[in-house]
C-alpha cells in the first residue's frame, strides 16, 4: 500500500487534474454567466483533434495549441449564437455540439491522415524537467485568476449578475448578451486548451474518444464545487487524484479500474441528492434577459 503513495502518484494527480481544471474553469465561467454548457466534452475533442492537425501541418505544437484554442472558441461561438441570439434550448444545443465534437474528428481523420481510430504522432508541447507538461502549472494558476476576475473585477461581477438575474442586470445597463457571449466563448477556448493538453501535451496523437468523459467530469466538478473556482478546483483535484490512484492501483493490479473510475460520477450524484445542503446554482441559469 505504501508504494502507492509516492512521488509518482503526486505527479500523476497533477497530470490528470490539469485538463479537468481547464475545462472546469471554462464551464464555470459559462454557467456563472447563465448559460449551461454541457458540450465541454465536445469542445475538448475538437480542441484535441485540431491541435494535432495544426501541429502536423506546421511542425509547431505551439501553433497546434493556438488552433485548438481558436477551434474550441469557434465551436462555443455556435453555442452562444444559438442559445443567446436564437434563444434555442441550451441543453438541446449542447447535445448537438457534443455530437458534432465527437463526429467531426472521426470524420476528418480518414480524410486528412487516411487512418482510422487515431492520428499519426506529432511533436509535443515542451515539458518542465522532463515530466510535467508546461500547460499543467498554467491550469493551476488559472484558478486564482478566475477567482480574482469573478469576485474582484467589475467585468467579473457583472458577468455573475448576468447569471444571477439577467433582467435586473439588463435594466441597470449591463450588456447581458455581450457578457454571455464572452463567457461561453471563453469556456470553449479553455475546453479546447484542455483537449490540446491531452493530445499534444500528455500524448502526441489524437485518438477517437480520447477525452473519455473528462468534459462531463469537469462539469461535475463545477457543480460539486458549488460554482466557485476554488470549490471546482478542489473537486477537480479529488477527481484527478481518483484517476491517478486508479492508474497506480491498476499498474499494481490492486483494484478494479471500473469501480474507482466511477467515483467522480457517484460523488457528484450523492452531492446532488442534497447531502451537501448548500449547493446552489446561479439563479439565472438558462433564463433570458428579454422574452
Amino acid at each position: 500500500m505504501t508504494d502507492l503513495f509516492t512521488v509518482a502518484l503526486l505527479t500523476a494527480t497533477v497530470r490528470m487534474t490539469a485538463p479537468l481544471l481547464f475545462a472546469a474553469m471554462g464551464g464555470l465561467l459559462s454557467e456563472r454567466s447563465g448559460i449551461m454548457n454541457i458540450a465541454l466534452e465536445g469542445f475538448m475533442l475538437i480542441g484535441a483533434f485540431v491541435a494535432v492537425v495544426g501541429t502536423w501541418y506546421t511542425g509547431s505544437p505551439w501553433f497546434g495549441l493556438l488552433c485548438a484554442i481558436v477551434a474550441g472558441g469557434a465551436g462555443a461561438a455556435i453555442h452562444a449564437f444559438w442559445t443567446i441570439t436564437l434563444k434555442a434550448d441550451q441543453i438541446v444545443t449542447g447535445a448537438a455540439l457534443t455530437l458534432l465534437g465527437a463526429g467531426i474528428p472521426a470524420f476528418l481523420i480518414k480524410r486528412i491522415f487516411d487512418q482510422t481510430g487515431g492520428t499519426p504522432s506529432v511533436e509535443r508541447l515542451p515539458t518542465l524537467g522532463g515530466h510535467m507538461n508546461i500547460l499543467a502549472p498554467v491550469a493551476f494558476m488559472l484558478v486564482p485568476l478566475v477567482h480574482y476576475f469573478l469576485f474582484y473585477t467589475k467585468p467579473g461581477l457583472r458577468l455573475m449578475s448576468a447569471g444571477e438575474n439577467p433582467k435586473a442586470a439588463e435594466s441597470v445597463g449591463i450588456p447581458v448578451s455581450l457578457y454571455r457571449y464572452c463567457a461561453v466563448i471563453a469556456s470553449g477556448m479553455l475546453s479546447g486548451t484542455a483537449g490540446a493538453y491531452l493530445s499534444i501535451g500528455d500524448l502526441s496523437q489524437f485518438t477517437i474518444g480520447m477525452t473519455q468523459g473528462r468534459g462531463y467530469i469537469a462539469l461535475a466538478a463545477v457543480i460539486f464545487g458549488n460554482w466557485s473556482p476554488f470549490g471546482a478546483a478542489a473537486a477537480a483535484l479529488l477527481f484527478g487524484f481518483a484517476q491517478a490512484f486508479n492508474l497506480q492501483a491498476q499498474a499494481q493490479g490492486m483494484f478494479s479500474k471500473d469501480l474507482l473510475s466511477a467515483l467522480p460520477y457517484l460523488v457528484t450524484l450523492i452531492a446532488l441528492t442534497g447531502v451537501v445542503r448548500n449547493l446552489r446554482s446561479p439563479a439565472g441559469l438558462g433564463k433570458h434577459a428579454t422574452d
Binding site: 454541457i38 441543453i91 448537438a96 455540439l97 458534432l100 465527437a102 463526429g103 481523420i109 471500473d258 450524484l269
Partner: protein, 363 residues
C-alpha cells in the same frame, strides 16, 4: 379559423418544420462532404442504395431503426413531462445487460423465456430511469446532470460486472456475457436477413405510448405538467409522482431497446457503449415527441446508419458523417424553435393591431 383547419395546421406544421430541419442538415452535410473532396450527390445516392438496395439491406435498415425508435420513445415520454433525459444510453445499457444475463438461463419454453428476459431489461431500465426522476422530485437535482452521471455509472458498473463478478454468466476475455439461449431470443422475421422481432416490439411500444399520452388520464397529467408545472400544481396534479412515473416509463422504453439489441441482434451483451443515447435525442426531437413522429424519425436515422457503410465503400465518405449529420439535425431543430417563436410573435403583433386599432400600437 375553423376547428378542422386548426387541427390540420397542428399536424402539418411540425411535419413541415421537422422536414425542413432534416433537409437543412442534409444540405449542410452535403457541403461538408463536398468541402472534403467527395461528391455529395453520389454519397447520398450510395447511402440510399445501402439502405434499400436489397432485401438484406432493407432488413438492416429496420434493424438499425429498432433501438432508435425505442430510444426516441424514451426521450419523448420524458420530454412530454418536461424532463430532458440524457440518460437513455445508461438505461439502454442496463436493459441490455440485464436481458443478457437473464437470457443465459433456462427460463422455460419459447415465449415464456423471451418474455422474462425482456422483462429483465424493462426492470433494469426502469430502475435506472427512476433514479433521476426521484432525485428531481425530492431534491430538485437537475435531471440533465444526474442522467449524465448515471450513464457513466451504468457503463462502469456493467464493465465491472463483466470483468470481475465470477458468479455471473460472463466472459471477460470476450468482454461480453455468455450467449443467450435460443429459446430466449427474439425470432428472426425474414430469412436471409438479420431482421428480428424487435421492430415489432418497437412499434407496439409506440402504440402503447400513443395510448398513454393521448387516451389515458395519466397522459393528460404528463402533458399538463410538461407544458406548465405551475398550472398542474394549481389543478391538483401531483407533479412529483407524474415526473417519476414518466422517467420510469422512459427507462422502460430505453431498457426495451437495450434488451432487443441483446436478444434480437447480438445474441449476447457486449461491453461497449453503443452510442444510441444522443441519437435518441435527435429521434425524439425530429419526431416532435409524438409516437408516430418518433417511428418516422427512427426509420430516417436507421436509413442513415444502415446506408453509411455503403456510402463509405462506394463514395469514399467515411461513415462517421452520420454522427455529424445527427448533430446538424439537432442544431437545426433547436433553431427552428426560434423561427416558430418569431412567427408566433408576428401573429400576436398582427392580432394586437387588428383588435385594438383605436388605442394605437406601442413600439
Amino acid at each position: 379559423m375553423s376547428e378542422r383547419q386548426s387541427w390540420w395546421r397542428g399536424a402539418i406544421s411540425p411535419i413541415v418544420s421537422s422536414t425542413i430541419a432534416v433537409l437543412a442538415a442534409l444540405i449542410v452535410g452535403g457541403i461538408v462532404i463536398a468541402a472534403t473532396g467527395s461528391d455529395p450527390i453520389e454519397a447520398y445516392r450510395a447511402m440510399f442504395r445501402g439502405a434499400f438496395g436489397s432485401r438484406r439491406q432493407i432488413g438492416e435498415t429496420l434493424v438499425s431503426a429498432t433501438p432508435l425508435i425505442l430510444g426516441g420513445l424514451a426521450f419523448a415520454i420524458a420530454a412530454r413531462a418536461g424532463m430532458f433525459n440524457i440518460g437513455i444510453e445508461g438505461q439502454l445499457v442496463m436493459g441490455a445487460f440485464a436481458a443478457g444475463v437473464i437470457g443465459t438461463y433456462d427460463l422455460g419454453p419459447r415465449p415464456v423465456g423471451l418474455v422474462i428476459a425482456l422483462a429483465a431489461g424493462v426492470i433494469a431500465g426502469g430502475i435506472w430511469g427512476m433514479i433521476p426522476g426521484l432525485l428531481k422530485a425530492f431534491s430538485g437535482a437537475h435531471e440533465v446532470i444526474t442522467t449524465i452521471m448515471l450513464n457513466y455509472l451504468a457503463l462502469r458498473m456493467v464493465s465491472y460486472a463483466v470483468n470481475n463478478v465470477d458468479w455471473l454468466p460472463v466472459n471477460p476475455p470476450l468482454q461480453a456475457t455468455d450467449p443467450v439461449l435460443p429459446a430466449n431470443k427474439l425470432p428472426i422475421l425474414l430469412d436471409g436477413t438479420r431482421l428480428h422481432a424487435g421492430i415489432i416490439v418497437a412499434i407496439v411500444a409506440a402504440i402503447v405510448l400513443w395510448w398513454i399520452l393521448f387516451r389515458s388520464v395519466y397522459g393528460y397529467k404528463v402533458r399538463t405538467v410538461g407544458l406548465s408545472p405551475g398550472a398542474a400544481k394549481f389543478s391538483g396534479i401531483p407533479w412529483k409522482r407524474t415526473i417519476v412515473i414518466a422517467m420510469v416509463l422512459s427507462g422502460i422504453f430505453a431498457g426495451l431497446g437495450g434488451a432487443s439489441e441483446t436478444l434480437g441482434l447480438q445474441g449476447r451483451f457486449y461491453n461497449v457503449s453503443p452510442g444510441y443515447g444522443f441519437t435518441a435525442i435527435a429521434v425524439g426531437l425530429v419526431g416532435r415527441n409524438h409516437p408516430i413522429g418518433v417511428i418516422a424519425a427512427g426509420l430516417l436515422f436507421g436509413v442513415l446508419r444502415a446506408g453509411a457503410t455503403q456510402m463509405q465503400n462506394s463514395a469514399d465518405v467515411s461513415k462517421e458523417i452520420v454522427q455529424v449529420l445527427q448533430g446538424l439535425v439537432i442544431l437545426a431543430v433547436a433553431a427552428s424553435a426560434y423561427v416558430a417563436m418569431m412567427r408566433q410573435r408576428r401573429a400576436a403583433a398582427k392580432a394586437a393591431v387588428s383588435s385594438a386599432p383605436e388605442q394605437g400600437v406601442e413600439a
